[in-house]
Symmetry: D2
Subunit: 510 residues, 4 copies
C-alpha cells in the first residue's frame, strides 16, 4: 500500500505522549515548530504518489504489491545506488527519508541478524521480521529506529550501573504473550513523525547483560511510551523561521530527536526479534551501523553542497569572490564536498554481501571513510565559512527587524553588498550560512550516524591489514608477503632484472 | 567621579532609539533579554564602589580626582598588568569591562594619533581628546568604540562604492560648530549600555577617501542615531535563560552587538579628533587594534578556562575522565588555555612605547600571536568539546522540560551520569558546554578583536625578520648577518675551534 | 615493437651527457646509484615480455602491431582503468612506468592540443604528433616529459626576466629544417633512463612570451643537452642501500629527477608540436596535468599502502598494536590510503572527453581532489608514523653496523622488540619507515604532479558552482536556482505539503 | 676549574669503544664526520674562556672556585633565565651546551631525588651527588645523561620481558665496592664528546622491577661500555658537508645520538645515587624531564628562528615575498617561533621550587606547553617550508656539482632567482631549508626531550583543574566553586546587581 500525505498526517493523531519545550503537544501536525518535521516527513508520502518519482520510490514486494521502495531489501549495487538516489533527492528537496532513515536500516539489521541466529542457534526470528516487514509494507507505516541508550556512567556495563539498572533498555519481565521493557533511548531522529520504531542495543553485551540484549518493534503510541523532544536550534516558526533558519525550518531539525522513555512497555512476542541472545547484540549494532552510514553520507553530501554554495554566494555578494585566498577556501570546500560524495557513491559500487543472507550492505571501509572525512572536517569547514562571511554571520538582525518598517530601510541601505545584488538576497544567504553552521550540525557531524571513534573502529577492524603489511614487508625485505594475493604474485623484482645488467662500476667517488 | 550602579542604570533612560528583534525597546534596563547585558555592564560601577576592589578599579587622574582606572592611560608594564587584572577579574565574575572594553582603547588610540598629528601637522587635536577624557572621568560615563563599517562591496574603496556613498561613515557637511556624519557601523559591542561612543575608521584611506577619514565622539542618544541590535544566540530570559544559556545570560552576549546608524548626526568640533587627515586613518585603526588585542586575549583566557573546566566536568560526570584519549583531549584544552593566557600576560611584560607619546601599548607580536592562537584553534576546541560530551550537547532538553513535573522525573532518572553526581549538575554542565560552543563564540573567536588575516598582517609587519634572516644567513654561510645585533656578535664558529683540532683522519670508508 | 630488457639497457649507452654528484657518468647502467633507477625503468620492458602480464601491458596499434599499451590513447573508462592497473602493478612491484609516466601524458597532451590547434587555426600539428607516436611504438622507446622551467624570479613573466631571457625554455632561432631551443627544465623524472623527451611549457603565455610557447620532442643524447641529476636521499648502493633505504633503492628515487639544460639544441620541424601559438600554451599545461594526475594518484596509493603497512608492522613489533591511540592512528592511515585510492579510481569511472578529440582523460575534480587529499595530509601522516615508531626512526644504526661482527650481537640483543619477532625484521621495518618518511617523499607529495595551489586552482575552475549555488539559493529562498538541472526539477517543497496540513495551533507558549 | 678547548679535546682520546657506520672510531676528534659534534661540544670550553662570555658561562661554586656555570644548581628565576641565555647563545652560535644539555639536568634530578630519599628514607645519597658535582666542577668534565632504555616489548614491564631481562638497564650484581650493571640506553645525545654520563631510569617501577631502579654515574671509557652511533642525515664532510648540510654539520647532528651498551659495567658505590628504591624511579624521570624541557624549548627556539628566516629568504630570492599567501605562511612561522620562545621564557619567570630542596625548576605547565606546541606543529612547519620553497628543496644539486667546472656554469645561470641575488646565496638558502626539514629534526621535534604523549601527561597531571572546574561550575550554577581561591572570592554576580534593577517589562513579544 502507498498512503497519501493526508492519510499519513491523520495517522499521527494517535494519542502519543509527546513533550516539547515543557509542554505536552496535543497534535504534532499543528504545533508551530513540531509541524516542520512532520511536513518534511510527509514528503515520504508525496514522492511515491508523484508520477515523476513513482519509479524511484515505489517497488513491488514479493506478493506483487506496490510498496515504498525503502521497504525492500537491497540485493545489489544497483539497489544501493537507487537508495542513494532516493536519499539525495529527498535531502536536496528539503523533505523526506528523514522519517524512514533509521527505521529501514534497523529493519535490514534485524533481518540479517535474525537469519544469522536462526541458522546458528535454531531460533525462529527471521519469519517474525519478515511478517513485520509485510505489515509495514501493507500499511505503509513511518518507521524509525532507536539505538542509543542514555548510558549513565559510560565506564560501567549495563548491568553494573550503580544508580539504577535502567540506563540501558532491558527486559524486566517475560510473559506468555510478550515482554515488558524498561529504559530510555536518546537522540532518536524522526520520532515525532514515525508510527513505529524498531528498538536495538547500542553495544556488545556479556552474559551478565543478557536482559539488555533485546530487539523489538513497537508503535510509538503504545502505553508507557513517553517522547521528550530535544531543544531546536531556534524558536521561530512560520515565515520568521523560514527566513531566519531556512534549513532548520525545512527539515524541522532539532525538533526531531527525542528521548523515548519506555515505562514498562508491553511488546508481543511476534514483535520481538532478539531476546537474550547476548552474543548477537554486537552484530545488530554493527549491522545497523553498516547500513546506516550510507544514509548519513548522502545527507552530508547535500549539506556540503549547500555549504559550499552558500560560501560561494556570500563571497560573491561581498565582492570578494576573486580574492585568491577566498578561492582557495572555496576550492577546499568543493573538494571536501566531492570527496565525501564520491566515496559514499563508491560504497554502493563495491557493496558487501552480508554473511548468511542475500542482502548487500554498503562497503564498510568506504562509508566509514566518507563519514569520518565529513565529521573530522566539519568544524574546519564551519570555521572556513565563518572566516569568509565575516562577523555578520553572528550579528545579523532578524526577520522581525526586516519586516519592521522602522528598521527595514536602514537594513536595505546598509546591509547591501556588491552593487546589483538585492540586500534581501545577501541577508538570506547569510542567514542560511548562519543556520548551517550552528552546533546542531556540528554536533550532528560528529555524533550523528556514529562517532569519530566508531568510524575508526570500523576501519581498523575492516581494513586490509594483510595487504598493507604485505606491501611493507615486500618493500622492506621481510618474509611473510609471499602468499598475499596482490603482493605475492608480482614479479620478483629486482632479481628479475639484476641478472640482465652489467656489473657495477665501482670507480666513482661517492 | 565614580557613579553608583543606580546612577548608571538611570542614565540609560535617555531616549535612545534602540531596536531589538523587531521592536523598539522603551527601556534597555527592563527588557527581558537586553537587561542581561545592562546587568553585566553595571558591574563596571559595582567594582569601583566595592572596597575590596577599589584599589584595582579606581585611580586618581591628574587633577587628583578618583576616577575609573580604565580612564587613565597606561604608562608602564605595571599599568598594563593592572588592566589585565581588571579584565580577568570582571570576565571571571561574569560582568564588567564589556562596557568599556572598546571605548577605553578607542580613547587611547585617539590620544596617540592626535598627539602624532599635532606634532607632525601642527593640528590641535590632543587637547580635545584630553578634554573629552576629563569629561568622561568627571561624569564616569560608559563608553564604547565603533570601528567596523558595514562596507558594502569589499573589493571597492569607500569612495568608489557603486550603490551609494555611505557604506563607510563619512563627513557629509562641515559646519561652523561641527560636522554632520552619515553611515553605519556594525558589530559594535556594549552599545545598549554605553552612554557615549568614539567612532573611528576601520581601514587605511587614500586621498579620494578623505571624507571618510574622521574620528569623533558622540552620546548614543544624539539625534539621528539609531541602534539596531543583533540576534542573540537564544530567546529565553530569566531563570530559563540562566539555566539553558548560562554564559550568554550572564554577559548578555548577542544583545550587545549593534548596528549603529548615523542618519546625518551633528558632532561639535570639540568632539572631532580627526577630520580629513586621511594619511592617519591607518594609524588610528592600528593603534586601536594594538590596544584592544589585550582585552581580547583576557576575555579569551576566561572563556578557555570555562571551556577546559566544563569539558573536564562533563568527562567526570559521564564517567570517562580516566580514559586516555579523554585525558589527552583535556590536556590539549589546558595547554591551549594556558598558552593564550601566558602569551597575553607577556604582552604586558614586554610592552611597547607608542611613538610621539608617553603611552605604552601591549607587545604587538605577543597580543597578535595569542589572539591568533586562540582564533585559529577555537573551532577545533569546540569539536573537542563536542566529541567529549556526546550528542546530548545538541539534544538536551530545556529548563522548561526540567520544571515540567510530567517530564522531570524521567529526566532525573535517565539523564543521570556517574553515580553520586546529581542529574541537575550534569545537565547544567552540558548546558554550559552547549552555550560556550555556540556560533556566537565561534564567530567571535575569529572576528572579535580582529580577523585571522589581521593578526597575520600585524605579525608579518612587526616580526623581527632581520633577526630571523640573520639566523638563516649565518647558518647557511650567506653574508649579510654580520651587523645583526644578536647574530652578528656571536663567536666566529667553527673557525674559533677548527684551528685547535687535529687534522682529519681520511682513512675511514664512508 | 616490444624491446627486450637487454635491448633497452643497451640503448642507454648513447653518449648522453649526464652528471651526478659532481661526476660525469660514463654509463648510467653501471653507476652504483644511478643503475637503481635504470633497473626500475627496465621493468617497463620486462612486463610486456612476461606472458603473465602481456595482455595488460601490450596492445595493438592501428597498424596491428603489438606495442606498449601506454602508447595507445585512452578512449574509455576501461582504458583508463587499465592504465590504473598498469600503474598500480608496477609501483607495487617496485619498478616500471616510472620511466614512461611523464612521457605518455605529454604525448596525449600534445595530441589533444595539436588536434585543437589544427581545427581552430588550420595548423598541421596533429599528423606530426601521430607520426612521432608511431616512431615511439615502432622503436619501443622510453619517453619522459619535461614541463617545469627553472623560472628565475617567480614574479616575472618569461620575457620580463631581468638576469637573462632563458629562465624558461624558448626558441632562439627558426631555421629551415627546424628550431634552436635554449633554457633548462627542472625536476624531470625518469631522465636517466629515457631515450626521448617531450618538452612543454609550464604556464600560460601572453603575446610577448610567444617565443616561449613551444612543444617539441627530442632524443636525450641530442647535441647540446646536458643532464644534471639531483641529490638522492642517500649515498649507499648495493646491499647496504637495499637494507638501509629499501624503497629509494628499489625505485632509484632521487637519482631520477634531473635538470635538463638545452644549450642551443636543434629540433627538426617534424618534432615540433607547437611553436609560437601562445594562446595554446595553457592548454598544453592543463591537458598534461589532467592526464598526469592519474599516474600521481596511483603512485601515491602504493606509497600509502606501504606507509600504513609499515606503521602497523612497527606497532606490532614494538608490542603496542593493541593500544587504543595506536589503533586510532593506524585506522586514520588506512582511511587516508583508501580515500586517495578510491577517489583516484573514480576518476577513471567518470572520465571526461577532451574537446575536439576522441581521447578521454581522468575526471579533473576527482584526480585533483585525490591528489590534494594526499598532499595536504602527507606531512601529517609522516608525523603519525614518526609518533608511532619512536625516536629510533632517526637513531637506528645502519647496514654497516649490522654486518660488523663487533656491533651486530649488541644490535641483535638490544634492538629486538616483541618476543618472537626477529630483530632483523624489526630493523628492516624501521628502515623502511625511515626511508618512506624522508623529505624526498614529503616534498614530492606536495610538488610532484602539481602543487597544492595547482589542485585548488583546477578544482575551483572545474567545480560545479552552479549546482552548489543552486543548492544554497533554493535553501535560502533566493531566486536563481529554478533552471538548475538538479535543483530546479525537485518538488516545490514545502508548498506541496503545506496545503494538506491543518492550520497551526498558536496556543503554545514558545 | 675551567679547562681549555685543547685540554678538553685531549681528554677524549681515552680508549673509549665507539662505533660509527660500521667502523671502530680510533679518535673521535679526527673522524671526518664525528669531529663535527666534537667541534660543537668544544664550544662549552670556548665560551668560559672568552672574556666576553666569562660572566655568563662561569660561576663560583661554594668553595669559591670558578667553574662552569651549568654545574651550579638554579635557585631562582634569574638563574633559570641565565641558563636560558646560555642555551640560546650557544645554539645560535652553532656550538656548545649540546654537550652538557642532558648531563646537567640529570645532575639536578639526581640531587633533588637524593635529597628527597634521604629525608624520607634516611638514605645517604645526597652527599654522594654533591661529591660527584664537586668532582665535575674541579675537573670540568663534559657530562651527558642517559635515560631512554631500548625497551623491547613496549607492552611489558622491565622484569616481564620475555626475550631476555636486559631491555632496561639493571643491577645484575651488588658487590662490596659497587654494583655491576647491564643493559643498553638509546638515543643518548652528546655521547661521543662526553667524559661522563649519569644513567637514570626512564619509567616508573613496581616492586618486582626493583633491580631496574638504579641511578649512577660513570666515565664513558669504563670497561664494558660500548658506544654505537646512529646514522647521520648525511655522509658528507668538510666543505661539502658545510655547504650541503650546514646545520647538521655545524652541530654534528645525527652523529651525536648513541646506543650505550653496558656489558656488565662496574660502578663504585660513591657513584650510585639510587639503587633499589623503586618508588622513586618515577621521581627521577619526572625531575629530569622537568629540568630538561627548558633546554629543549631553547634549542627549538633557535631552530625556529632559522626556519622562519630561511623561509623568508627563499621567498625573497624566488621573488614571491609579496604574494599574500606567502606572507600569511611567513607570519604563521613567526608566530609559531615567538610563541614557543616566549612560553619557554615564561617558564623561567614563573619557576617552581622542588619539594624538599632549595632548587627551582622551570614551570612545568609552560615548558610542556611550549614543547608540545613546537612538536605538534613542526611537521606542519616543514610542510609550509616545502610549499614555499618548491620542488627544488628535493632536487637541488650538491656542492660536488657546484664545484665541478663542467656543471657550475649551468647552475650559476639556471638556478638563479630574483635578479641581483647571487645564485650561490639562493642555493645555500635552499640547502639550509632542505637540511632543517630533514627527518632528524622532524623526529627530534616529537621524541627529543619527551614525546607528545609525555607533554600531555605532564600537563594533565599539573594543570589547575580545580580552577578550571570552578570556572565552569560558577558559570553553570553548580555548587563546588565557592572555596576556589580565584573564583570563590569574586562578587556574587548577578545577585549583587539584580536587586538594584527595575522589574522586567514582560510586554515584549519574544
Amino acid at each position: 500500500m502507498i498512503r497519501s500525505v493526508e492519510q499519513y498526517l491523520e495517522s499521527l493523531n494517535d494519542g502519543r505522549v509527546f513533550y516539547f519545550l515543557g509542554e505536552r503537544v496535543r497534535d504534532v501536525t499543528t504545533h508551530p515548530l513540531v509541524r516542520n518535521v512532520i511536513r518534511s516527513a510527509s514528503m515520504d508520502y508525496f514522492f511515491p504518489n508523484d508520477p515523476k518519482y513513482h519509479d524511484l520510490f515505489v517497488a513491488k514486494n514479493e506478493e506483487g504489491e506496490a510498496v515504498n521502495a525503502l521497504f525492500i531489501s537491497p540485493k545489489s549495487s544497483e539497489d544501493l545506488l537507487k537508495r542513494r538516489e532516493i536519499f539525495l533527492t529527498t535531502w536536496r528537496t528539503g523533505g523526506g527519508t528523514q522519517l524512514h532513515c533509521m527505521g529501514i536500516d534497523a529493519l535490514e539489521a534485524s533481518k540479517v541478524v535474525a537469519e544469522r541466529m536462526d541458522r546458528r542457534l535454531g531460533t525462529q526470528y527471521a519469519e517474525r521480521v519478515a511478517a513485520y516487514r509485510r505489515y509495514l509494507q501493507q500499511n505503509d507505516l513511518g518507521i524509525t529506529g532507536a539505538m542509543t541508550d542514555v548510558k549513565g556512567d559510560r565506564s560501567l556495563r549495563p548491568s553494573k550501573q550503580e544508580a539504577h539498572q535502567d540506563y540501558y533498555v532491558r527486559v524486566v519481565d517475560r510473559q506468555k504473550n510478550g515482554i515488558i521493557v524498561r529504559g530510555a533511548k536518546m537522540h532518536i531522529s524522526s520520532t515525532p513523525g514515525a508510527n513505529e520504531a524498531i528498538v536495538m542495543p547500542c553495544r556488545a553485551h556479556g552474559e551478565e547483560d543478557q536482559d539488555y540484549a533485546v530487539v523489538f518493534a513497537t508503535p510509538l503510541n503504545a502505553e508507557g511510551i513517553k517522547l521528550i523532544a530535544s531543544e531546536p536550534p531556534m524558536r521561530e516558526s512560520g515565515e520568521a523561521g523560514a527566513w531566519d533558519y531556512p534549513v532548520t525550518t525545512a527539515y524541522g531539525h532539532g525538533t526531531s530527536e527525542c528521548m523515548i522513555v519506555f515505562d514498562d512497555v508491553f511488546v508481543p512476542w511476534e514483535r520481538v526479534f532478539l531476546c537474550g541472545e547476548w552474543k548477537f547484540s554486537r552484530d545488530v549494532t554493527y549491522a545497523f551501523a553498516t547500513f546506516h552510514r550510507l544514509f548519513g553520507v548522502c545527507r552530508m553530501t547535500t549539506e556540503l553542497e549547500m555549504l559550499a554554495g552558500v560560501a560561494a554566494l556570500v563571497a560573491e555578494y561581498n565582492g570578494v569572490e576573486k580574492v585568491s585566498h577566498i578561492r582557495d577556501k572555496l576550492a577546499w570546500l568543493a573538494m571536501y564536498a566531492e570527496a565525501v560524495s564520491v566515496i559514499g557513491k563508491t560504497s554502493c559500487l563495491y557493496c558487501e554481501k552480508q554473511p548468511d543472507s542475500d542482502v548487500v550492505s554498503p562497503n564498510t571501509i568506504y562509508t566509514n571513510t566518507a563519514k569520518y572525512l565529513f565529521a573530522d572536517n566539519y568544524h574546519q569547514a564551519v570555521k572556513t565559512a565563518h572566516d569568509i562571511c565575516g562577523g555578520i554571520a553572528d550579528t545579523i538582525p532578524t526577520y522581525a527587524d526586516w519586516t519592521n518598517p522602522e528598521t527595514r530601510p536602514w537594513m536595505e541601505k546598509y546591509l547591501g553588498g556588491k552593487a546589483g545584488i538585492p540586500t534581501e538576497h545577501r541577508l538570506r544567504a547569510i542567514r542560511l550560512l548562519k543556520d548551517l553552521t550552528n552546533p546542531h550540525f556540528q554536533i550532528g557531524s560528529i555524533h550523528g550516524e556514529g562517532s569519530l571513534a566508531a568510524q575508526r573502529m570500523f576501519v581498523y577492524a575492516g581494513a586490509d591489514w594483510g595487504k598493507y603489511k604485505a606491501a611493507a614487508k615486500r618493500a622492506a625485505g621481510i618474509s611473510g608477503w609471499e602468499k598475499d594475493p596482490v603482493f605475492g604474485s608480482l614479479p620478483d623484482y629486482p632479481k628479475c632484472i639484476s641478472s640482465k645488467m652489467k656489473p657495477v662500476d665501482e670507480s666513482y667517488s661517492l
